[in-house]
């Protein structure tokens, strides 16, 4: 029960992290095509590398700890999640390649379009998941139904919080010490290489 509670709490933390950390990045990317978008993306720098891993950690943790619930949720969230991921890929292509291949407005449009689709897809996936919980098709968060075996839960509860704590510490240090600095590799201006 302790392991189940730990992993439920960790999943909630990762979900909140996705909403807040990745949410801020998505919001900034949505405005990439505005006149100040280039400056905002330069201030973001490599920040999206730190934010998108929250989503990946959330998906991996919930799949590992609650495989039954995950499998039951797939039919509900498949379409919106695919949409979100397609937008995410488009956004990332823009963020990585824009500063290398010209950094003009075209690339910023790609970032904005991708982030918009990603944001809408994530909201729709969350709504679909809530609906699935309400209808009872997917076990509620934290329920032992749909959870992994006790051995698997124990292993995950012992290891994952350490990794997440390390990442939180590193990201806080990054934010406090280097937040908003200009990074040559991710500088959005016409002569950027």
């Amino acid at each position: 029960m302790i392991a189940l509670g730990t992993l439920t709490a960790l999943s909630v933390l990762l979900g909140l992290g996705t909403l807040v950390v990745e949410g801020v990045v998505i919001a900034r990317c949505v405005r990439a095509a505005t006149p100040t978008g280039g400056v905002a993306l330069t201030r973001l720098g490599a920040g999206f590398l730190a934010s998108e891993v929250w989503t990946i950690a959330l998906l991996g943790t919930t799949h590992g700890a609650f495989p039954g619930a995950w499998h039951a949720a797939v039919p509900w969230i498949a379409a919106p999640l695919t949409l979100a991921v397609a937008g995410w890929m488009l956004r990332d292509v823009g963020l990585w390649l824009g500063p290398r291949l010209g950094a003009g407005r075209g690339w910023r449009w790609i970032v904005a379009a991708g982030a918009t689709v990603q944001g809408l897809g994530l909201v729709a996936a969350l709504a679909a998941l809530c609906l699935a919980w309400i209808t009872g098709d997917v076990p509620a968060p934290g329920s032992a139904m749909g959870a992994a075996s006790e051995t698997a839960l124990a292993m995950l509860a012992l290891t994952l919080p350490t990794g997440v704590a390390l990442v939180v510490a590193l990201q806080l240090a990054w934010w406090r010490l280097l937040g908003g600095v200009r990074v040559p590799w991710f500088t959005w201006h016409a002569s950027a290489r």
Partner: protein, 381 residues
């Protein structure tokens, strides 16, 4: 076989194989990158900063587009392969969860910190960050191969079919041997990239010191990886799939034979031809050899795909050998949904691979940037 199931398998093969090209490339580039950064931090020699910056550009292109192709793999896995009894996925889900919430979570954060701290943190600290990136990348590969090894040889299950023995999961011979085989393969792939970057510079007679450093490092890396690759490859035969398929024939058998031939040839070529050419840096003047290094980057990459196609084909008709059949693991929607999404994901994976290949070659072909973007000197306080 059901046509839709065959399509889903093709989709997995294409997206996973293309993603593995990025995995082998970045895994093979991160160690020489960390080593170069450390040598620069220790000796302070300027050409090592230029070499690190040059290699860092190649690495970041591979890393960024590798994430894009990795997301494509995750999506098709979630959509197409979530069928059957969920309890069978326990041992598969544990290492995947540890990869995402520990290894990749840390790796991406540390890499972002390394990029952002250029010119703002001391070189020794940034070299430590790269070693941490390398360690998490290796851990990441270990977790994924533990999951894959379980699919080939499901160990550690209790009588009720649930995961019961964690030690067995981590010591699974099917995973351990595959890990060393992949480590050898990534070392060769990375070595070929590093040597090709040096060869491009040497052929243009640009930055002799960087060219020499990269050629030495790349050739040593490929030469050291080759025996690991070959020995672990043969070691796999006895333990990869106890009770499973052992005698491949037809096209798959041919693929296996070709892969083994290329692996042994790379071992011989690196030890008999390339290493002796490093004496007194003869290699910098051996232009035909330099052209060969520039032109053969694709060879170990193509060979890794042969290896994966063989390994995964040999697992059939099982998803998890002896536990879940491939057809039962499939969770396919209607063809009108599965096929367009599948084609889209395969197109994205292929585009990411082509763009990465083009950009990495552009970096290697053009003169280095006028200013260092990844290895700027720290600004004094």
């Amino acid at each position: 076989m059901d046509a839709l199931l065959a399509f889903a398998r093709l989709e997995f093969a294409v997206s996973a194989s293309l993603h593995f090209l990025f995995v082998a490339t970045t895994l093979g580039l991160v160690l020489p990158l960390a080593l170069l950064a450390t040598m620069h931090a220790v000796t302070g020699r300027e050409h090592l900063a230029r070499a690190t910056d040059h290699l860092g550009r190649l690495y970041l292109i591979g890393y960024g587009l590798g994430i894009v192709s990795g997301i494509a793999v995750e999506v098709q896995l979630g959509l197409n392969w979530s069928g059957g009894d969920a309890s069978a996925y326990d041992a598969f889900g544990v290492p995947i969860a540890m990869e995402t919430a520990i290894a990749f979570f840390l790796e991406s954060t540390l890499l972002g910190l390394w990029i952002t701290s250029a010119g703002r943190a001391p070189h020794w600290l940034r070299a430590c960050m790269l070693w941490a990136v390398a360690a998490t990348a290796v851990a990441s590969a270990g977790f994924i191969i533990a999951a894959n090894g379980f699919m080939h040889s499901p160990v550690g299950l209790g009588d009720d079919g649930a995961l019961a023995d964690l030690v067995a999961l981590w010591q699974n011979p099917s995973a351990v041997t595959a890990f060393w085989h992949v480590a050898g393969a990534a070392s060769i792939v990375g070595g070929f990239w590093v040597a090709a970057a040096g060869a491009h510079l040497a052929l243009r007679r640009a930055d002799f010191e960087v060219a020499r450093a990269l050629l030495r490092m790349g050739i040593w890396q490929a030469a050291l990886g080759a025996p690991v690759l070959v020995v672990a490859g043969f070691w796999q035969f006895s333990v990869a799939r106890p009770g499973g398929q052992t005698d491949p024939d037809g096209a798959i058998g041919l693929l296996l034979a070709l892969m083994m031939l290329i692996g042994v040839c790379i071992w011989l070529a690196t030890w008999i031809v390339m290493l002796p050419l490093l004496i007194r840096t003869v290699i910098v003047r051996a232009r035909p050899v330099l052209w060969a290094m520039v032109g053969l980057v694709w060879l170990p990459l193509a060979t890794t795909i042969m290896g994966w196609v063989y390994r995964e084909e040999a697992r059939q008709p099982w998803f998890i050998v002896g536990v879940v059949r491939t057809e039962d693991a499939a969770s396919l929607a209607s063809p009108w949904v599965t096929v367009p999404i599948g084609i889209g994901l395969m197109a994205i994976s292929a585009t990411a691979a082509v763009v990465a290949w083009t950009l990495m070659h552009r970096v290697m072909r053009t003169d280095r940037a006028r200013e260092l973007s990844l290895m700027a000197a720290p600004v004094p306080a």
